[in-house]
């Protein structure tokens, strides 16, 4: 098995909380060096999956290899190779950005330079500010700084930009992009489609603890995407026809009255968002919030 090319390999992962089957046979491969986005509605199992991969939770069943090791039993040398940015953190408010980043650098064998990390996440001007005085977005960037200061081969980001304003999100995307360029493998969870589209080489959609599709963001839901809707108006009124061959249909419309305009002609393809909502089905109300 060419597992050396895989940063993460998951087969049949399952996890149950009481009556709730949080993960139900999840499969996942993340190649070394790629940025992979786990997409799915709240409660789909994204965080549970990621926390099992990080070694924070024990699984009930299935095979998991993260950087070649089982996170359930891997030791500190393995932890030195991963970086973890959890969903939310409000700890260590009394320490300044610099104090925290330096302190965490001291846990790793080959840390990045703390000052460079603080620069990279855009907190230079806040370096002496205590964590509790940072804004939500700044706090999140501090979380990332602590996650990357150990120079991880594999970085986990759990909903990194929830609660960001659009500008902060753009800046954040830039930061993640530059980490990816340096060769860091990134596994992130998000429920923002545009985020997945912008950052990820590949996207996996999870619903109800299962992976329903893995693809490049542009071809997500390929079968759904293949169907277009052609709309036009003629003497009989407004028409809308779903077809997998819109070009042929348009040709046919033109040939009925050569040279004339086809009134109100539109060829519509589902947006990524519509595709995604169709895929996650019943859970869409959660996403729409």
């Amino acid at each position: 098995m060419a597992d050396t090319d895989l940063a993460v390999r998951v087969r049949g992962l399952s996890k149950r909380y009481g009556d709730h089957q949080a993960l139900d046979g999840l499969d996942l491969d993340v190649q070394r060096g790629e940025t992979f986005a786990l997409l799915g509605p709240n409660g789909a199992g994204k965080t549970t999956a990621v926390e099992i991969l990080e070694g924070h939770r024990q699984r009930d069943g299935g095979e998991v290899a993260v950087l070649g090791a089982d996170p359930g039993t891997a030791g500190l040398d393995w932890r030195a190779r991963i970086g973890v940015v959890l969903q939310s953190g409000s700890d260590s408010g009394a320490l300044s950005v610099t104090e925290l980043v330096r302190h965490f650098a001291g846990f790793y064998p080959r840390p990045r330079d703390p000052d460079e990390v603080i620069d990279a996440v855009g907190l230079r001007e806040k370096a002496r500010t205590r964590a509790r005085s940072l804004s939500g977005g700044q706090r999140r960037r501090l979380d990332v700084a602590l996650g990357i200061v150990g120079r991880p081969e594999l970085l986990f980001l759990d909903e990194p930009t929830t609660g960001f304003d659009p500008q902060a999100r753009r800046q954040f995307w830039g930061l993640i992009g530059s980490l990816a360029e340096e060769g860091t493998t990134i596994l992130l969870t998000t429920h923002y489609l545009d985020e997945a589209e912008h950052l990820a080489d590949r996207v996996g959609v999870i619903t109800s603890g299962r992976m329903v599709e893995v693809s490049e963001p542009t071809t997500l839901g390929g079968r759904l995407q293949a169907t277009a809707t052609v709309r036009w108006t003629d003497a009989d009124g407004r028409h809308a026809e779903r077809t997998t061959t819109p070009t042929a249909l348009v040709e046919q419309l033109i040939s009925r009255r050569p040279g004339a305009e086809v009134a109100d002609l539109e060829v519509l393809r589902p947006t990524l968002e519509e595709t995604y909502l169709a895929m996650v089905g019943d859970d869409t109300t959660e996403v729409a919030r």
């Binding site: 939770r57 959890l86 409000s90 650098a105 064998p109």
Partner: protein
């Protein structure tokens, strides 16, 4: 341990445990002293209480040839040890678990023992500074004479260390029992206050009702206070102890038992995540 392991040079191995633990102690102390509540209710508490109670009751007699302030000093030193270790750790670890620091640390290659060593180092530094400040206040403000015999300071050393060890492991052990930091505060603080009242800190132990003496004898603070009295009060006071002696042997036995119980509790209850985290 041997290399200077500068942060900028490439290392192949993780930093040594000693180095990480030393960093943890520094961070723990910084966090502690930046928190007004900790400083007020843990670090400064014995000194503040000594000044208040000493000023009000200082001239009263606690026993043969012993002023109340002298008696109270021994109780406050013991209380300080309990606050710095038990209350401090129980509340701070519950809070750090609640806020997600423990989970964050668990995601790094920091050795778990470095976290515990950091806590213990903080408790030792804190406790010694606190004790020194309490003794200094007693000497400067209330003219209390401190013992000069080395044997008494030897007793002080082992009572301090056993008390700190018991308080620390019990503090770490109970920190995981409450569901949240708030709940920890609501549970731990009353325990600590009640123990002070029944263990002969505010009242002369011999004056307490028998059942209260018996109850207090189960818990460490009574023995720590008694141990500190054997250090700071003249031997003549021993006649005012209910047992008529300092009971050093029994003291060691009770504190050692609590250290064992506390360690077992730590091993059973310690966790890096909140209890509701699955």
């Amino acid at each position: 341990m041997t290399t200077t392991a500068a942060a900028t040079t490439a290392r192949d191995t993780r930093p040594t445990l000693a180095r990480v633990a030393a960093n943890r102690v520094g961070v723990e102390l910084r966090v502690f002293f930046r928190d007004g509540l900790s400083v007020g209710f843990i670090f400064a508490f014995p000194v503040v209480m000594l000044v208040i109670f000493g000023s009000v009751f200082g001239d009263q007699e606690a026993g043969p040839g012993v002023s109340f302030v002298q008696y109270f000093l021994a109780g406050m030193v013991a209380t300080g040890v309990m606050l710095s270790s038990f209350q401090n750790l129980a509340l701070s670890i519950a809070d750090e678990r609640d806020q997600g620091l423990l989970k964050r640390l668990h995601g790094t290659p920091m050795p778990p023992s470095a976290y515990l060593l950091g806590k213990i180092g903080m408790v030792l530094v804190l406790g010694l500074c606190q004790t020194a400040l309490t003794l200094l206040t007693a000497v400067v403000v209330f003219d209390v004479d401190l013992p000069t015999e080395p044997s008494r300071w030897l007793t002080f050393a082992w009572v301090y260390l056993l008390g700190t060890a018991a308080g620390s492991v019990l503090g770490i052990g109970v920190s995981a029992l409450p569901r949240s930091a708030q709940e920890a505060n609501a549970v731990i603080t009353p325990i600590v206050i009640v123990l002070q009242f029944i263990s002969g800190v505010y009242f002369v132990f011999a004056d307490l009702p028998g059942w209260m003496q018996s109850l207090a004898s189960v818990f460490p603070l009574k023995w720590m206070a008694q141990g500190m009295r054997s250090v700071f009060l003249p031997d003549s006071f021993v006649s005012a102890e209910p047992a008529g002696q300092w009971q050093h042997g029994l003291m060691v036995l009770v504190l050692a038992t609590w250290i064992v119980v506390g360690t077992a509790l730590c091993l059973r209850t310690f966790r890096w995540t909140r209890r509701d985290a699955g």
